[in-house]
Structure formats: structure tokens, C-alpha cells
């Protein structure tokens, strides 16, 4: 389903300084797989996630999702692709702190201008699933870390995407909440979503429902 072919990603810091985040990598992820990308900070795992989500373009190589080349998509089509296929759980959640839980979860749906009933249905479903219904009108900045995380996960799922991407999801959580997240992940895997997690948290290693663990080091896949 997800195919990275000879992908290189470099960043130009200034005229004479170039940083290579990914160096000619190849990666294949099947539909329904849960893949964990292991590696230290700066190893390039977050960059792989960005490329799969079409948040950035590779310097060279191809990124294919469902036989479609997403690495060459114009900006608006990349946005549509993300909207319809990707649920991204950011490291820092990237919620709008002054909006309510409901308003934050609603955000991916806003550009679609859906019917009111449709919206209500989707929101209720996703808030119930991730156990955040009781806080639907609460302002996000007043929530605990765990609650904010559930909001972020709910937002990532509201559009029922095929691919879930999580970037260091437990970086800001304590052990209890981290375990809780792992359970949510198990649940998502059970609903046949393709999941890619980038992390250096050992809690994700050697889990029974993880299909593959891929080690990323210095921009290369080992």
C-alpha cells in the first residue's frame, strides 16, 4: 500500500550547508500492517512520516500510496489526499488550545462543509470511541495530557482515514497513559487500519500486535 522507492530527503540550511535526513531508502508497508519505526532523535523517522503524509516532498525518489504517486502531487491535491486518507497524531498534538474538544475534532471536516446531521454522527461516534464525550465542550488547554492525547487521536480518526500516522505519541506521557495509548493502538489495528508509528519509546518494542519493527539510523534503514 505504501511504497518508498529510492527516496532521499535533504534540507538546505544555508548555501554551503546541506543536511541529508534520508539517504536512498526503500520501504514497503502493506495494507493493514502496523509498523514501528525505531530510532534515536534525528535519525529520519519523522521525515519518513512526513513523506507518507505528503507534508513534504522528497528531494529524489518516489512515494507511492495505493499505486498513486503522492510525492509529485500539487499542494491542493496533497491536502485532499491527507484529508481523505491520513490521520496524523503529532508529537505535540497540535491542537488549537482555545477551541473546545468538539471544535478541534471537527477541524478536518470543516473544509468539506458537511450536513449538520452527518457532522453530529461522526463526532459522536469518534468521541465515544475514544472516551472523550463527557468533555466535548471543554476548552482543550484546560484538559490533562491524556485527555488532550485522546482529542488528538479522535481528530485523526474523524474522517475515517485508511492510514494512521503517529509521531512520538508517548513523548509527553507518563507510563500509565503510554500503556493506555498502546491499547488504543491495538484497537485501531483491529479495525484494519494501516498504522505507522515513529518512536524511541521501548514500550512499543516487542508488542504482539506489531507486524514489523524497522530500525532507522542516520537516514538509512537498517
Amino acid at each position: 500500500m505504501i511504497n518508498l522507492k529510492n527516496v532521499t530527503k535533504s534540507y538546505e540550511i544555508n548555501k554551503n550547508n546541506k543536511v541529508t535526513a534520508l539517504d536512498n531508502i526503500n520501504l514497503n508497508i502493506k495494507e493493514g500492517e502496523l509498523v514501528v519505526l525505531k530510532g534515536a532523535s534525528g535519525s529520519g523517522k519523522s521525515t519518513i512520516l512526513s513523506l507518507i503524509a505528503a507534508l513534504s516532498k522528497p528531494t529524489s525518489g518516489e512515494v507511492m500510496v495505493d499505486e498513486k504517486q503522492i510525492s509529485k502531487l500539487p499542494d491542493n491535491f496533497a491536502s485532499i489526499y491527507r484529508r481523505d486518507n491520513i490521520g496524523f497524531i503529532f508529537q505535540k498534538y497540535n491542537l488549537i488550545p482555545t477551541l473546545s474538544v468538539k471544535e478541534n475534532i471537527l477541524l478536518p471536516l470543516v473544509p468539506l462543509n458537511p450536513d449538520e446531521e452527518d457532522v453530529k454522527e461522526k463526532l459522536d461516534a469518534v468521541m465515544q470511541r475514544f472516551n472523550i464525550s463527557h468533555k466535548e465542550d471543554a476548552i482543550v488547554r484546560n484538559l490533562s495530557g491524556g485527555e488532550q492525547q485522546r482529542v488528538a487521536i479522535a481528530r485523526a480518526n474523524v474522517n475515517n482515514p485508511k492510514i494512521i500516522i503517529a509521531d512520538e505519541p508517548t513523548a509527553n506521557l507518563d507510563e500509565k497513559l503510554s500503556i493506555h495509548f498502546v491499547e488504543i493502538l491495538r484497537e485501531l489495528k483491529a479495525s484494519n487500519k494501516t498504522i505507522v508509528v515513529a518512536t524511541h519509546d521501548p514500550i512499543f518494542f516487542d508488542l504482539d500486535f506489531v507486524d514489523r519493527e524497522i530500525k532507522v539510523h542516520n537516514g538509512k534503514i537498517l
Binding site: 512526513s50 503524509a53 507534508l55 513534504s56 516532498k57 499542494d75 491542493n76 491536502s79 485532499i80 491527507r82 484529508r83 481523505d84 491520513i86 496524523f88 503529532f90 497540535n94 488549537i96 482555545t98 477551541l99 471544535e103 471537527l106 477541524l107 478536518p108 471536516l109 470543516v110 473544509p111 468539506l112 462543509n113 458537511p114 450536513d115 457532522v119 481528530r155 474522517n159
Partner: protein
């Protein structure tokens, strides 16, 4: 996706405005004040022009003045006969009028002399002067004055008559025969109308001279031609036609200079400070927000639409509120403070009501000077950020 208007986007825009409560409030307030000030000034000038236009057709068709070295001089009364001989001229009347400076009060009165035996005056006088005895005007040395003049006289203890000081130092007593209706105050407030002879006496204008000559023409289409004929006959004169007066009324306010220039420059300056602040780029927080929205599936168009709603709500609200306030300020409260720019430091104050004159052009002008520019200033920096790679912006 039935409706064209995306309510959710509008909601998001409102939330974005409320997120920066103080900044939004400040910008809205400044905009409202600017709109209010500009619109008020335009309303006042429009009203004055409207008042002028209401009476422009009653003005003389041709006025003949003698100008020497850029200065106005009395003209010979003899030329009247020559003017009457010009083909097309139906009437020529010599006028005697001038400004009388009343030193005690420090005011100027406009003194106009009228002929005694004109019936046309009788009808008009009775219309606009209460309890008036026209014959008295002729019989005694009497005058009819504007409300403002009457007031000044009262303040200086003159109730039934007034003593004019002639150029030779002697006094000329003139009785008060009536006061012009208050509804004509914008035209008559500082005016005194009296028989010509008395005016001559007060200003010491010799018998053979008059202040200027008013010429009436049978066919209005011939005014220009007759005017040039008169100019040919008397090259030292300035001929002012009714057309000229109309043009003069149009140009009463030169928006490129004076108080208006100062006002516009200050407004522009304030306006551009706000625009500069907006366009000098978004804060890192705002940039991140756009990055997040793009990351969760918003297109550039969606981001720009939202920014449009945001800026439109603020600027349009400020515009409407400014206009409503201006309407009330100028026409209901009669523009206190602001009207002093036009009234000046005159001691003889005219209590006039600014008439309501609805001018769509003004409203459109102020709208297009404010709303679209603010919207553009908001959208352009957002567009710059929205076209970057989302990944770059979030990190």
C-alpha cells in the same frame, strides 16, 4: 455540501477573531474611528453642498465687477445704460453692498442695498420676515436683519435700531424693521438688507459708483455670449456668470488641500500602520496554525477563505458601525466640534441644521478605501505561509 457558504469556516473565523480578543478589538476600534471621522467629514461637506445647490438657481445670471490690480473697485454706474443696449439683455441692476465691521463685537455684517420700488421684493419679504411692514422700510431709514445680526445687536444693547459709524466718523441711525426667518439662517444670518441710499451713506459710496452690476438675460443660452461681449466692452471687469457660480459651488471643498489633506494623511498613516503590522508577516503562532490546518487536510483555498472571513468580519463591522455613528453624529447631533472646522472662530455663530443629503458615492468611497485593503493585507501574508510546505511550517 449543499450550501455555498461554509458555516463551519465562518465559525472558525469567529473563533480566530476571539482568540486574539484585544488585538481584534483594537483594530476594529481604530477602523471604526477612521471610518467615522472620514464619513462624518464627507457628510458635512455634502450637506453644505446640498444647501448651496438648493438655492443656486436663484442667483444672478451675470455679475459685472471691476477688478484693478487684483483688487475690487467700485464700478461706474454709467455703464448700466450701455449694458442695457446689448442685444439679449433684459435688465441690468446696479448693486451696492459691502462688509460692515462692527468693532465692539468683532464681527462682519454683509450689508446689501435694495431698490425701494421693486414689487418683487414685497412678496419675498412677506414670506420670510415676520410681521413685516414693507412700506416702513422705504419710509424711515429701516433695515431687515438676519437672526445672528439681531443677536449681536442685542448683546450690544441695540434693540430697536443700530448706529452705523460712517467713514467720516459720524453715526447713522437705522431702525430695525424686521428679522429674517430662522429657517433662512444659513443664507441670511449675518446679512442686513436696507435701501440703497442708506448703504451708500454708510459706506460713503459716491452717487456715480456702484459695487457691481447684475445683468439679466432673456435667453439663458446666450449668457456666455453676452458675458464675453461685456468683457470686450469693459476689459477691466470680471464677469461672473451663473455657470461660474455653479462651478464655484462644486469646488467649495478642495479635498487636495487644507484641513482635508491633513485629515486624509493622518488617516492614511494610521491605516497603513495597521496594514504594515499585518503584512509584515504572521507571528510564529499564526504560521504554525496554518501549518496544522494544512497538515490535517485543509487546502490553501480553505485557509485563504477562512482568512477572508476573518478580515471581512472585522473590517465590515467597523465600516458599518462607523457609518451608523457618522450618520447620528452629523445629522442628529449636528456634528459638535467637527463643525467648528467649517465655522471657524466666527463670533457671529450661525445656528444651522445640516440638511440630510444621501450620497451613495461617499459610502462606496469609504468602503473601498478601507475594507478591501484590509482584507488584502490579511490574505497576502497568509497566502505566503500557506504555499509553503506544511512540514516546514509546523516544525
Amino acid at each position: 455540501m449543499k450550501n455555498k457558504i461554509n458555516i463551519y469556516l465562518i465559525e472558525y473565523a469567529i473563533n480566530a477573531i476571539l482568540r486574539q480578543k484585544y488585538k481584534s478589538f483594537f483594530v476594529t476600534t481604530v477602523f471604526t474611528l477612521l471610518t467615522f471621522l472620514l464619513t462624518s467629514v464627507f457628510f458635512i461637506t455634502n450637506s453644505i453642498k446640498h444647501e448651496l445647490d438648493a438655492t443656486v438657481d436663484a442667483l444672478p445670471q451675470i455679475i459685472v465687477q471691476k477688478i484693478k490690480a487684483g483688487r475690487h473697485y467700485d464700478i461706474d454706474a454709467d455703464i448700466l445704460d450701455n449694458l442695457l443696449e446689448i442685444a439679449g439683455v433684459s435688465d441690468a441692476v446696479a448693486r451696492v453692498w459691502g462688509y460692515y465691521y462692527f468693532e465692539n463685537a468683532g464681527v462682519n455684517f454683509s450689508v446689501v442695498g435694495v431698490d425701494q420700488f421693486e414689487n418683487q421684493y414685497k412678496e419675498s419679504f412677506n414670506k420670510i420676515v415676520k410681521k413685516f411692514d414693507f412700506d416702513k422700510l422705504e419710509a424711515d431709514s429701516s433695515m431687515v436683519v438676519g437672526v445672528g445680526v439681531k443677536q449681536i445687536m442685542l448683546e450690544n444693547y441695540y434693540t430697536k435700531y443700530f448706529n452705523f459709524i460712517k467713514p467720516d466718523g459720524t453715526l447713522k441711525k437705522v431702525t430695525l424693521a424686521g428679522v429674517f426667518d430662522a429657517q433662512t439662517s444659513l443664507e441670511s444670518n449675518d446679512m442686513i438688507v436696507m435701501p440703497k441710499e442708506i448703504v451708500r451713506e454708510i459706506f460713503d459710496i459716491e452717487e456715480g459708483k456702484v459695487t457691481d452690476i447684475v445683468v439679466k438675460v432673456a435667453n439663458p443660452k446666450e449668457i456666455t455670449m453676452i458675458a464675453s461681449k461685456i468683457k470686450q466692452m469693459y476689459p477691466d471687469t470680471r464677469i461672473v456668470t451663473s455657470e461660474d457660480l455653479k462651478v464655484s459651488y462644486q469646488n467649495i471643498f478642495d479635498y487636495k488641500s487644507g484641513v482635508f489633506l491633513a485629515l486624509f494623511i493622518v488617516s492614511l498613516f494610521t491605516f497603513f500602520i495597521i496594514i504594515y503590522d499585518k503584512s509584515s508577516g504572521l507571528s510564529s503562532e499564526e504560521k504554525r496554525e496554518i501549518g496544522i490546518l494544512k497538515a490535517i487536510g485543509w487546502k490553501i483555498d480553505d485557509v485563504l477563505k477562512e482568512k477572508f472571513y476573518e478580515s471581512f468580519i472585522i473590517s465590515f463591522f467597523a465600516y458599518i458601525f462607523g457609518v451608523i455613528s457618522a450618520f447620528a453624529f452629523v445629522y442628529i447631533f449636528q456634528a459638535p466640534i467637527l463643525r467648528n472646522i467649517f465655522v471657524g472662530y466666527s463670533q457671529l455663530k450661525t445656528t444651522f441644521e445640516l440638511p440630510f443629503a444621501f450620497d451613495v458615492q461617499t459610502l462606496f468611497l469609504v468602503f473601498f478605501l478601507s475594507v478591501p485593503i484590509y482584507i488584502a493585507a490579511t490574505i497576502i501574508p497568509s497566502w505566503k505561509v500557506a504555499t509553503l510546505e506544511a512540514d516546514e511550517v509546523i516544525r
